[in-house]
Amino acid sequence: MTVKKRFLRVTNLLFLILIAVQFLPNQISDDPQTSYVLWFAAGAELLVILVSSFVKKEQGLNLFLDIFAFIYGLLILWTLATAKFNLLQEALFPPPGCVFQQFTEDIDKILVNIQSSLGIILQGYLLATVIAIPLGLFLGWSVRLGNAATYISKFLGSIPPIVYIPYGIALLPTFRSVSVFVIFLATFWPVLASTMSGVLNVEQKVIDSAKVLNVGKITMLFSVILPASLPQIFIGCNQGLSVSFILLTSAEMIGARDGLGYYVKQYSDFGDYTRTIVGLLVIGIVVIVISFLFNKLQRSLLRWKR
């Protein structure tokens, strides 16, 4: 790629505009913490320049630069609409500098909340998949049980897990255990259903070629049926994961004493919309990072698929 293609891009132009915009006169009463925006932009641009210098594939570079162009563009609009022209309600929409400043100030608290939320999700989610996948394999493999179980799991899975909360609260000691229980249910049914349908859809020819190798029952289930149905199983796992995040953050907004949902809810109750926006952004980042890692895992386990 030429130097022009690498460095003379709209992204870099937007970076310069973003910096320039910061020096317009402010029209709000509070300090808009402009230096935080400048630091953030500088960090982002450093990353952009590094990536532009070293990435080999043009397509990958384009995607990366386009994403940063959007981020810069958004920050420009955000700065203009708040600090510079005061078009939005000041109390509800703090300027970006304040949000960045609040983020750095609260980072310890935020990490604790992330840890708490992820801990609950991980526990409920792993428990559900570890039970649902083997169970789904056995049920799907035994034809008669599987047929009945498909209907039962469809019925039970169609009940939104959030309505089990009253039972969870009545039976379980802590908010945390109720959350784990709800996430367990949110993950268990879709994973069980997708595992069973995966098993039922394994091609007869695959099963025959395993049979003629004279494989034992356990090998058949875990070395043949499991990998053959893995693409389907992942559909259920994906569904479980996204529902888990929705449920957990909602639950945390209702009754928790920590967690990301709690962070957002607590501060919005006190009218602290800077922290509310910090919380929203952090939740977005956490979900994106988790789904990115999950996708990596999925791709590596299914790399044999065309």
């Binding site: 049979k211 190798l213 090998t219 065309r306």
Partner: protein, 234 residues
């Protein structure tokens, strides 16, 4: 006593309350080390016959004896190559072969199994492709892997169900020669007993010692013809 004895095999299918007979009173035998082709047009029951030899299906009447003992289900004495999907798509060529070896030789270590896999992949000329997944291999290469696996399992009997039926003519010739070369070996080992299903008469003549011709309505053995040509034939 022959290696494989097929006695009065009859197979009835029931489909949507209609029953029909796929095989009727099929009898023939295969000697140890013999290469026998079963040929016939589609619908003559040759694949049904092989599926019973494989142990995937059971006959309605009659029985098959291997070394004098009736077969019940699948067994480690028979290696199988199908026309399609013999390989597991989630395993590399090497793992596919090693997985087959593991089912017959449970006491071998993982390293030993992989070594055997490498040896046989080398024999079929796929050393450079051993870490590829089936989806990354051509149809001919996939069949080479399937043959490597069947041979690596070192069973007495090889059952092949139109293994080259979906391969283009040029590659088919190459694979036929490879199969013969591997079957004949270097003379130090006992030859495998092969039952080879095909609808291609030229293929049957090139490969086999004897040809069993089947015809439909219901499937039965029509003629058995020894192939009178000396080897090598090309």
């Amino acid at each position: 006593m022959s290696k494989i004895e097929i006695h009065n095999l009859t197979v009835d299918y029931t489909e949507k309350n209609k029953s029909f007979t796929a095989l009727k009173n099929v009898s023939f035998s295969v000697e140890a080390g013999e290469f026998v082709s079963v040929i016939g047009s589609s619908g003559c029951g040759k694949s049904t016959l092989l599926s019973i030899l494989e142990g995937i299906n059971a006959p309605t009447e009659g029985e098959i004896l291997i070394d004098g003992k009736p077969i019940i289900g699948t067994g480690t004495d028979r290696g199988v190559v199908f026309q399609h999907y013999s390989l597991f798509p989630w395993m590399t060529a090497r793992k596919n072969v090693a997985f087959g070896v593991k089912q017959v030789k449970k006491d071998l270590s993982k390293t030993e199994r992989l070594q055997i896999a490498d040896t046989f992949l080398d024999k079929v000329g796929l050393s450079d492709f051993k870490n590829k997944y089936p989806s990354q291999l051509s149809g001919g290469m996939q069949q080479r892997v399937a043959i490597a696996r069947a041979l690596a399992m070192d069973t007495d009997i090889l059952l092949m169900d139109e293994p080259f039926g979906a391969i283009d003519a040029k590659n088919r010739t190459v694979l036929q020669e490879l199969l013969l070369e591997l079957w004949e070996g270097d003379g130090t080992q006992e030859k495998k007993t092969v039952v080879f299903v095909t609808h291609d008469i030229d293929e049957a003549i090139l490969l086999s010692d004897r040809i069993v011709m089947m015809s439909a309505g219901p499937g039965h053995v029509y003629r058995e013809i020894p192939v009178p040509f000396d080897r090598p034939r090309n």
